[in-house]
Subunit: 288 residues, 4 copies
């Protein structure tokens, strides 16, 4: 069975980086299947920040998994690279957190079944019991961990334990209606994806469809973003919108929004699973 390596790199920009990196790959007989590159002026380095994603065929590549880091380290050190490598035959492990709304969960699991999302999904966690059958029909264990203001810290600790036990790489908040504490957020940096049901930064916070209706907008949207300590302010991965009219009630906005939410979340999760997203300060670089 074939597999590929995916190499993500960011570092201060300078001449010769592409040559240095691609020559390293060529020296080890690697076949580059795809290469994407971008230089940002806003990434923190005065002379620009260099971002690169490479997909390399595993077949014929001269470095084993054990050897790769050691062989790449000198190059990485010389250029001050922040880098990571993943292998397509070791798909990421994903936990989905939900509350009562089912549309994002069902859509993610259908896409997973259809082969659109290359991941393992060892568990679904919810603060409500309602969606247990939706996970279990796919053979995925469902954990009901109720939460109240008093038990919030305790419940979060249990969730973190479950994530650790299951060696989770990515946490997907599929309309999980709980604000995470900084402790939780910092345990999974750049590894928690949330779907917010508005085109951020408009209507951050609670009840965006009702507020959108009151404001009389003609477009509603959804935003997938990484979760940071500040609510609804993390780097945006994807956004899309739907047109609405004066005839659409708040309930219609909710209905039309569901369609946008599930589409936007699924695309963001897919990109994360395929290692297509890098962080550029408050922004994302997405190599589609």
């Amino acid at each position: 069975m074939g597999y590929n390596l995916r190499l993500l790199i960011s570092c201060p920009d300078k001449r010769g980086l592409i040559s240095a990196i691609s020559s390293f790959i060529a020296m080890h007989d690697g076949n580059i299947l795809s290469a994407d590159q971008y230089v940002s002026e806003t990434g923190g380095f005065a002379g620009g920040t260099f971002f690169m994603r490479l997909e390399i065929e595993g077949e014929g590549f001269g470095l084993t998994r054990e050897e790769f880091a050691g062989a790449f380290a000198p190059l990485a050190r010389r250029h001050g690279m922040d880098w990571s490598v993943s292998y397509t035959d070791a798909p990421k492990r994903v936990a989905i957190l939900v509350s009562r709304y089912d549309h994002c969960l069902i859509d993610l699991l259908w896409r997973w079944d259809a082969g659109e999302l290359d991941a393992e999904i060892p568990l679904v966690i919810s603060n409500h019991p309602d969606l247990a059958p939706r996970a279990e029909v796919h053979g995925i264990p469902f954990h009901h961990l109720p939460v109240s203001p008093e038990t919030k810290a305790e419940q979060e600790a249990k969730v973190l334990d479950l994530l650790a036990e299951n060696q989770v790489d990515l946490v997907v908040l599929a309309r999980y209606m709980q604000v995470l504490t900084p402790k939780f957020v910092n345990a999974y940096p750049r590894a928690i994806v949330n779907i917010h049901h508005s085109f951020l930064p408009a209507f951050a916070g609670a009840d965006p469809y009702r507020r959108a209706h009151e404001r009389g907008v003609k477009t509603i949207g959804a935003t997938a973003h990484y979760v940071t300590e500040e609510l609804d302010a993390g780097p945006i991965i994807h956004q899309d919108v739907a047109h609405v009219t004066h005839r659409d009630t708040v309930e219609d906005l909710v209905r039309l929004g569901r369609e946008v939410e599930r589409r936007v979340l699924a695309r963001a999760v897919r990109w994360h699973l395929e290692d297509r997203i890098l962080i550029d300060g408050a922004r994302t670089v997405v190599f589609e």
Copy 2:
């Protein structure tokens, strides 16, 4: 030459309104070319607010322009109607206010030339001289009225004088970079259309593209709205968006945004000219 009447009505909802109105038209031998109707729960009346737009063929209609108001008044009074009538052979008179950005002005004038906007445009007003040739190539008088913080009141008075002299029905702010005073706004209630270069309520105020870039949004937009005393808070007429990526600089957002701005503004102006927009509190009803 044929012409049509356009009748706009809003009033407290009750049974029999459509019958009463259409029977009044039929009684006077009117041919209804199109009829749109909507009942809003948010329009201020407890039992709902009724909105209607009728387009009636002038040919064969039994009431002259002089007679219409008198004949319609008893019906309107009985149902507490807020109403207006316009005639398609008396197109609205439009003033376009601009500063230095030319794209919205050029687009509006091209569409006007192409017959997309049924209006008279007796003048263009600007606080800068730059766009004079753009108006004059279409034979439209261009008035340069410079403004400074000290002369703002005086300049606005001159603008209002020009609008009055030219019997202007609609003021279009085609990227006019001046905030209007309440006095000005109240002189043209529901008759000033502005284009804001963001999908409101996101990025209200100054410099939206720069702020959008900093926030790392994946969608930019534009909003056409009626101007009210509160900046960028008037009823929204139309919104549209464009997708952007991490590769797009602020300058790219400006370029892509221009395309959205001119499209959104042109559509809003067209709808206003065709009497397709009614005001429902903070929202608009648009009978497309």
Copy 3:
């Protein structure tokens, strides 16, 4: 429990139709909740064809279900109306026909569960056994009726029998990979909705994604239409598209297309169930 009437009318255009119809409703104390109207130049009548959709509150309306047709008949006859009435407390009965692709079926059933589709779904029929669990999880009987070139007539007869037994009003072809015979089509005029996986008339017939890829299009689409005797040529109800790039393989087009297909089909089915669609020759009138 409240219910509404939905009245659909088409007839030769003439003066006074809206007045005549709305006065008939008013005379019987009906409250018109929404009224849409359109005059087509292409509908077959020399002076234009008039189309109308009325939604009337059942509460307080003076005509019972038994009385309505008798009371409305004289008016209908006088104006040569083709008309129908439906009641929202008697939702339409829908049969879904599928083969092996599951996305449209799953999406329709999820929307049905979520209350987006006001219908009864007494059965799902397929020429393959694969999707039985997808129907049965919703408690809907699944009928497996295999088909081969030799058994086609026989299998169709069985399908028609099942539809008749279950008093089906609407047949939805949710990626049913069999061409229906004229006999079948004519048994359900204007009552079979198909989803075709291209923006018709482009790529009618088999294998549209492969052909779209070969042609190098930058946009793919899906089309929901009523089925007529001529393949993929029936009146179009709804279309939407997705943008694609040179990077997208045929498999990517299939994946992206699934998203468009299910969205387009769901919307068309919803409009049909809400009596929003009338037929205007080879075109549809959709009162959204």
Copy 4:
């Protein structure tokens, strides 16, 4: 003043190409500003076709314009590369051909004025005199070359003469209503961009909006493509669509289509001018 080189390459795919190319650049002290790469399975070579676009900073690059080809030739020969280089301080020379419709011409010239299109436009050619003022207001010479069935060959010869005299690199057919002969097409391979007013392959040929209206489509579109000998069958560069309803007449489709046409054409021309398009058999590779 700074300038960049843009290097376009296609060749049979093999290991080490990116390394070989980027090392060549690095060896000559070149700073790669952007690099895009793609491997196609459909480009004619059994093992795949490799496509690459590089943008290299002129400042500090060690090869002069005179030296580049000689230095790059051995590498190109070894890998069987089809390649070209352009310099951003030598913008392409564009001829715009029009007939009577003005919207595409006006839009291109406005964008050119606004700095969106980096090109020289030495002339506009038309078979009608109407649009002369539109070119001349920008100081661009306008050539009126009328054509009739009898004079077609002669007129085309004159057009080709003008293009040659003006050293034109790109011919833009901005709604030029004449079919070009193979002789003309072959004189500018991959260098004639046409805008067709439908989403090809639907409605190739004449009068697409009328045919779209008759078919009752709910989406209209426009397609920018390179011109080949076969009418409307050249490689597609860009497509976009607009939604329409039953209310839209053929005239409305024309109006809405104009907006799509000018947007699609402008984007295709911009991509061509920025050397973002390569040809992959019947398809295009567009490095956005």
